[in-house]
């Protein structure tokens, strides 16, 4: 009834190629944007920002990044945590070495630094494929975490080995540090998410995105039709690491504020982001958001139900969380290997015909 192409005439190529060709989708997208920018900052409080919105936005960036590498280019990476650490430590070094730099520049530079590191660890992907590559990226994970733990220069020789984000401002408002207000942090992250998601969406449907997908679907065939695997794989690693690095930087500077590398950027983080894209949907930007929302909301929800609602003890609730997350992943893979994004697409297909499916 309301979700139709009918009557929506495209008169230019630009209109025909737009991301949301169906008017309803477009309005929904504008509505979500309006809510996110116009409403949420005014009603947000510390609990919502810290428990749900900030981690959601930050992990969404990481999930988009990993989705570019794994979902679009087919290179499984278990080194996400390590690359996030590169972003975090770069931003820390920049923040302390150049107090005058603004946070956007710092965060972008962290992304570029991570992209360079990512390309370095991506080089073996030209020879190593599949599982072997997944395990090889573990080398990045463990080596980088070890490096940041053992070389005191990275944490400015602080006694605890932790890094703490000093207060930095953006347009005169504190973005990092203990005095930053939650709506400022929220808007700061949201700006990054919006721009990065927009870029990712357009990259993946352009020439370079098609090259990635060709490599994913069959690399030898892709090579034969003229895709340069070196270029395709390394750009995927670079772009993916750029996103992951920005996410790691934001996680440290804006969200956590103080970080101990093994704890915040360990192997569990790599798996967390991997789960997000599996549950959300491999090879879909929407899927990255859906997966991030799911994995951020699930523990909060379970904690609310089990601990607060039923009065269970937190240890027990944590164990239960493991069981449920594990089971969810397996169920998703069995029922719908393409994740929430696929379910969403199916729902939209149904909606197009609704209420007269015949």
């Amino acid at each position: 009834m309301f979700y139709r192409e009918a009557g929506d005439f495209k008169t230019t190529y630009a209109k025909d190629n737009q991301t949301f060709p169906i008017a309803f989708d477009r309005y929904r997208y504008y509505f979500v944007l309006f809510m996110a920018i116009g409403i949420v900052p005014f009603v947000i409080n510390d609990y919502w920002a810290n428990a749900i919105l900030l981690p959601f936005l930050i992990y969404a960036i990481a999930a988009i990044g990993l989705n570019i590498l794994t979902g679009y280019c087919g290179q499984v990476s278990l080194g996400t945590g390590g690359f996030m650490a590169v972003g975090a430590y770069t931003s820390y070094k920049l923040m302390t070495a150049f107090p005058g730099l603004d946070m956007v520049t710092i965060t972008l530079l962290s992304g570029f630094m991570t992209a360079i590191v990512g390309v370095m660890f991506g080089l073996p992907s030209l020879r190593i494929k599949g599982f072997y590559l997944a395990v090889a990226t573990l080398a990045a994970q463990f080596f980088l975490v070890w490096l940041f733990n053992k070389v005191p220069w990275f944490y400015n020789y602080s006694a605890s080995g932790q890094i703490n984000a000093p207060e930095r401002t953006m347009f005169g408002m504190a973005v990092t540090g203990p005095n930053a207000e939650s709506w400022v942090k929220y808007l700061f992250c949201l700006a990054f998410v919006f721009v990065l998601a927009w870029i990712a969406r357009n990259l993946t449907r352009g020439s370079i995105g098609r090259q990635w997908m060709a490599i994913r679907d069959m690399d030898i065939a892709a090579e034969i039709i003229g895709v340069n695997p070196l270029k395709a794989k390394l750009t995927a690693f670079a772009v993916s690491s750029f996103y992951v690095g920005i996410s790691g930087a934001l996680l440290f500077t804006v969200y956590l504020g103080a970080v101990e590398v093994g704890e915040a950027y360990g192997i569990t983080k790599s798996f967390l982001v991997l789960f997000m894209i599996i549950i959300g949907g491999l090879g879909s930007i929407f899927g990255a958001f859906a997966g991030a929302a799911f994995m951020v909301l699930l523990p909060v929800l379970l904690r609310n139900i089990l601990t607060d609602g039923m009065g269970w003890d937190t240890a027990l609730a944590t164990h239960f969380e493991f069981v449920i997350v594990g089971a969810m992943i397996m169920i998703f893979l069995i029922v719908e290997p393409h994740g929430l994004a696929r379910l969403w697409a199916l729902a939209k297909e149904k909606l197009r015909l609704w209420p007269f499916p015949h």
């Binding site: 090889a136 080398a139 991997l274 789960f275």
Partner: protein, 328 residues
């Protein structure tokens, strides 16, 4: 003989022993991978689960005690009996076989024909699931595992080496036992695969699923079989690691250590798993001994992975792996 060299020899020996432990975990991977093409990330958690179950049965703990107490408001923890080690091991083997049945029936039977990477991710999910179940069943505290294996320094080796080199080597009895048991286990597995009917079926399935199916081998049966075998290997690995450093969460992380072992040895080769384990064990021990102090130590966290990474660039299929032939 210079002192450093003697130390290096001791480090090498201990590295070999650790390598055997890695091989034990890697062996479970190889078994499942060969037969079903599933790269089983959950192998380490299976070792943890098996060891936890063993300790739980030995101590006569009530499974799921924590949750029962929480829901019903009771306060039960123990049945009040203690089960002898051998019987407990047998019972644990039964539990692992039950686990194999569960995994096959509810998970991997529904994933037949999926891409390998999907299967791999499913095993990551399985690892989380099993870890949660293990914690729910037996709690998450560190447990001491004692099945009566001797522990502590081996005096004979200490004395003999003292007479030869003027310095007694520290070799743990437990490591010697682990090496012996691993050798027996591997020999047993190879004999099983070579000389029994089930073993032949296993090898046939590993060779070619469809051909095996067409001569009347039940894939389902073979898969349950290999998962059970992998469960038993996990139990052995769990006993060894558990007696060495207590049964705790970090046990499941040795699975990650087994990955570079597999990469070195090749995913499809049992001898490869053994040799790969030894190389990694010795390599990381020697590296930590010689280079570690210069760059801040704790290099064993990453050395294995980097070694495997560098190695793979030159030989992508591992030492003993089948040559990767790609067709379009």
């Amino acid at each position: 003989m210079p002192e450093q060299l003697v130390f290096a020899m001791e480090v090498t020996l201990n590295g070999l022993m650790t390598g055997v432990m890695y091989s034990l975990v890697a062996l479970g991977f190889v078994l499942i991978f060969k037969a079903s093409g599933i790269f089983n990330y959950a192998q380490g958690v299976m070792a943890l689960f098996a060891a936890m179950t063993l300790v739980g049965i030995q101590d006569g703990r009530v499974p799921f005690a924590h949750i029962i107490n929480e829901v019903l408001g009771t306060d039960i923890h123990y049945f009040g009996w203690e089960v002898p080690a051998l019987l407990a091991i047998l019972l644990t083997v039964l539990v692992m076989i039950g686990f194999a049945l569960f995994v096959q029936k509810f998970i991997f039977r529904h994933l037949v024909g999926q891409e390998p990477i999907i299967l791999f991710m499913a095993t990551i999910g399985l690892a989380y699931f099993l870890e949660g179940v293990s914690d729910l069943m037996w709690g998450s505290e560190i447990r001491n595992l004692d099945v009566g294996l001797p522990q502590g320094i081996n005096d004979t080796i200490d004395q003999v080496t003292f007479e030869i080199f003027g310095y007694g080597f520290f070799i743990d009895n437990l490591d010697l036992w682990a090496t012996g048991i691993a050798a027996v286990l591997v020999a047993g597995l190879i004999a099983y695969a070579q000389y029994t009917k089930n073993g032949r079926a296993m090898r046939a399935v590993a060779d070619d699923h469809q051909a095996a199916l067409s001569v009347g081998i039940s894939l389902n049966y073979v898969w349950i079989l290999v998962w059970s075998l992998a469960g038993i290997v996990a139990l052995v690995a769990g006993i060894m690691w558990g007696s060495k450093s207590g049964v705790q969460f970090s046990l499941s992380l040795i699975a990650l250590k087994a990955l570079p072992v597999l990469m070195l040895g090749g995913f499809t080769s049992i001898p490869g798993a053994i040799v790969g384990g030894l190389i990694i064990g010795v390599g990381e021990a020697l590296f930590e001994f010689s280079i570690g102090p210069l760059i801040g130590g704790a290099t064993e966290n990453w050395f294995a992975y980097v070694l495997a990474l560098v190695f793979l660039v030159f030989r992508p299929q591992g030492l003993f792996g089948e040559k990767i032939i790609e067709r379009v």
